[in-house]
């Protein structure tokens, strides 16, 4: 037998790769149950009912999925043109902090005006976070992946200082969101907040924009072959900047929605890991935009399911392990399907 690379991956196999990655990850969840000292079957049963078993469970899973859809979309869009925006974590925080600044009663506006303002400002803050990496990439050829990661670290370092300083109220605690800036919840939506609709609209908008707008065409041309796109008269740098800004805005919007979805404030660990989980969502979805919804629900179900199941240690860490595993397996499966085994042929003399 010899290994050779395929010219094209069959669609069925491309679809199977993330599914297999998800199944292997779920199988490895058994290790967490064993470490926690429960029977494996019982652990899975609790995990499934915790994620999908009841109306509150479904509501929790959908609520977890909303920011994941947006950060997943942010990652998928930028990865499409090989723009490695790994900074969704920092953009998410920037969006949430901006939303908190405007939504904590600093501006006296009725809710139907305040809420859109808060969300748009959050998205703009996310886009703003991409400005430095994009300018450095286009102007100086710097590696945007490294710069976005550095900005994540800086945001995490600044967060406690911001919460204790500019964002603190009179009592020294971080200011809380005004009630008028809260996202409404709908009964016909399982009681999930309106952010779900915004996330769906964002996915549909990108889904329509890619094949049917000039921007989408330029994006796809740049994704296919940047040199050919440049020779065809497309300003690849401008496409890169616009895609990067939209990507940052989506991650910032995710932060603003996560904040306005619940009463309260930003805490030091707010939204930790949602930006990085978006990378897993994008890789699992493998270039498919509807796939982002499925992948986001899967990862949200991992989070809510592990919270309900026996786990030794903090639930977020256990969920983070599964998210990292599914990302690794999706990358490995996505690589393996590009090769095939073929019986060694006799070479004619």
């Amino acid at each position: 037998m010899r290994i050779e690379s395929r010219a094209q991956v069959p669609p069925a196999l491309a679809l199977a790769a993330p599914v297999i990655a998800a199944i292997v990850t779920l199988a490895l969840a058994a290790v967490i149950f064993v470490v926690a000292g429960t029977s494996v079957g019982h652990g899975y049963k609790l995990m499934i009912t915790g994620a999908f078993g009841s109306l509150p469970a479904l509501r929790a899973t959908s609520t977890h999925a909303v920011p994941l859809v947006l950060t997943g979309l942010a990652a998928a869009l930028s990865f499409r043109i090989k723009l490695w925006n790994l900074g969704a974590e920092g953009q998410f925080l920037a969006g949430a902090l901006t939303a908190l600044t405007l939504g904590a009663g600093t501006i006296a506006l009725p809710g139907f005006l305040l809420l859109p303002l808060v969300l748009v400002a959050g998205a703009l803050a996310g886009a703003l976070m991409m400005l430095v990496p994009l300018v450095l990439k286009v102007w100086r050829g710097s590696n945007e992946a490294v710069v976005t990661l550095l900005i994540n670290v800086m945001m995490l370092m600044l967060l406690p200082a911001l919460l204790a300083g500019p964002l603190a109220g009179a009592d020294g605690q971080p200011r809380a969101l005004a009630a008028s800036a809260l996202l409404p919840r709908f009964d016909w939506l399982l009681g999930v907040h309106a952010g779900l609709l915004i996330a769906l609209v964002a996915v549909v908008a990108i889904w329509v924009a890619l094949p049917f707008t000039i921007w989408g065409f330029m994006l796809r041309a740049t994704a296919g072959n940047p040199v050919a796109a440049r020779l065809a008269g497309i300003n690849v740098d401008r496409v890169t900047v616009s895609v990067g800004l939209v990507s940052g805005a989506l991650a910032g919007l995710a932060g603003a929605i996560a904040l306005t979805a619940q009463a309260g404030s930003v805490t030091p660990g707010f939204g930790a890991g949602i930006g990085y989980a978006g990378i897993a969502v994008a890789v699992l979805a493998d270039r498919s935009l509807p796939g982002i919804l499925v992948a986001a629900i899967f990862i949200a179900a991992l989070q809510t399911g592990i919270e309900a199941s026996p786990h030794d240690g903090a639930p977020t860490h256990a969920a983070d392990i599964l998210i990292a595993l599914v990302l690794i397996f999706a990358l490995i499966a996505g690589t393996l399907v590009r090769f095939r085994l073929r019986p060694r042929q006799q070479v004619p003399a």
């Binding site: 690379s5 470490v35 990865f79 090989k82 490695w84 790994l86 430095v132 450095l136 102007w139 100086r140 050829g141 710097s142 590696n143 992946a145 490294v146 710069v147 990661l149 550095l150 994540n152 670290v153 800086m154 995490l156 370092m157 600044l158 406690p160 200082a161 990085y276 990378i279 897993a280 890789v283 030794d312 240690g313 903090a314 860490h317 256990a318 983070d320 392990i321 998210i323 990292a324 595993l325 990302l327 690794i328 990358l331 490995i332 996505g334 690589t335 590009r338 090769f339």
Partner: protein, 300 residues
């Protein structure tokens, strides 16, 4: 201002700077080695965490801290195999493979650290080198460090010689510049690349172990805090030169030392001083421009 200068003149400040530079030096040279072979190791942050955790966990059992260093290096070798093996034109993009590795290591270490509380452990004690430690001014700065600092400088010298002057070093650099030329020579580009990436990853993991074993820090999920990403950015700026690695590590070690001692005199918030390394490296990236871009093989 005079108070600031006085502290900068103290041997204790520079001794601390060198101690804080040691993990960075390991991280920078490990990243440089990987990059020489054409792999920009985005797993650096994860390798730092793996080394810090493994070193801490092992040192809790053993009487001497050296087994912790050995296990950290072995962990780095194993994780480096993943980074090297999946690399290639048909594999996942380097940033994705690296971030995946980092997320896995970070979450597993956080989970394990949460499950088992850290016990006190024996750190490395400073070793006074006979006669040299008694030199005026420099003696207590350069020759009264932990063994890790001497090990780091020794590794840097060996690595510089290996890359510049040996056939193996030539093969590693060829692997980064033109893997096909290596294949044409009859050598396995896959093998050479994996060797270099595993060795580089082991060095980065030892850097992580320095964070816990060099200063008796218990492992916490936030301990590494971006040092791996910082090393990546530093390597983008300085390229493959080992002398610059020493200078950069010392510079950032000194900034770290400022962080702990001078804030009171400088009248600026401690948070801003903590941000300084990251701001500095981003400015340096902007200044260095396209020279800092990865080599063609690394970009593929």
């Amino acid at each position: 201002m005079n108070a600031v200068l006085d502290i900068l003149k103290e041997p204790a400040f520079w001794a601390l700077a060198i101690a804080l530079a040691t993990p960075l030096l390991f991280g920078i040279m490990g990243t440089q080695l990987c990059r020489s072979a054409g792999v920009f190791n985005f797993g650096a942050e994860g390798l730092f965490i793996a080394g810090a955790f493994a070193g801490h966990a092992v040192a809790q059992w053993g009487p001497a801290p050296w087994p912790g260093i050995a296990v950290a290096a072995a962990t780095g070798l194993a994780l480096g195999f993943f980074v090297g093996a999946v690399d290639g034109p048909r594999g996942p993009a380097q940033p994705l493979a690296g971030i995946a590795l980092t997320l896995l290591v970070a979450s597993v270490a956080a989970y394990a650290a949460h499950a088992g509380a850290g016990a006190p452990m024996p750190p490395f004690a400073p070793v006074q080198i006979p006669y040299l430690a008694n030199l005026p001014h420099v003696g207590q700065v350069l020759f009264a460090q932990t063994p890790l600092a001497y090990l780091a400088v020794g590794c840097a010298l060996v690595l510089a010689y290996l890359l510049a002057r040996t056939p193996l070093g030539l093969a590693i650099r060829a692997c980064g510049d033109n893997p096909l030329a290596l294949t044409a020579q009859g050598r396995s580009a896959f093998g050479v690349r994996n060797f270099a990436v595993m060795l580089g990853s082991a060095l980065i993991a030892v850097g992580g172990a320095c964070l816990t074993l060099g200063a008796a820090n218990p492992f916490t999920p936030g301990l590494v805090h971006g040092r791996g990403w910082l090393c990546l950015a530093i390597v983008l700026v300085i390229g493959p030169r080992m002398t610059l690695a020493l200078v950069a590590a010392l510079l950032f070690g000194a900034i770290d030392a400022v962080d702990e001692r001078l804030v009171a005199h400088l009248h600026i918030p401690a948070e801003l001083v903590a941000l300084l390394p990251y701001v500095l490296v981003v400015i340096a990236l902007a200044a260095i421009g396209r020279r800092g871009a990865p080599s063609p093989a690394a970009a593929a």
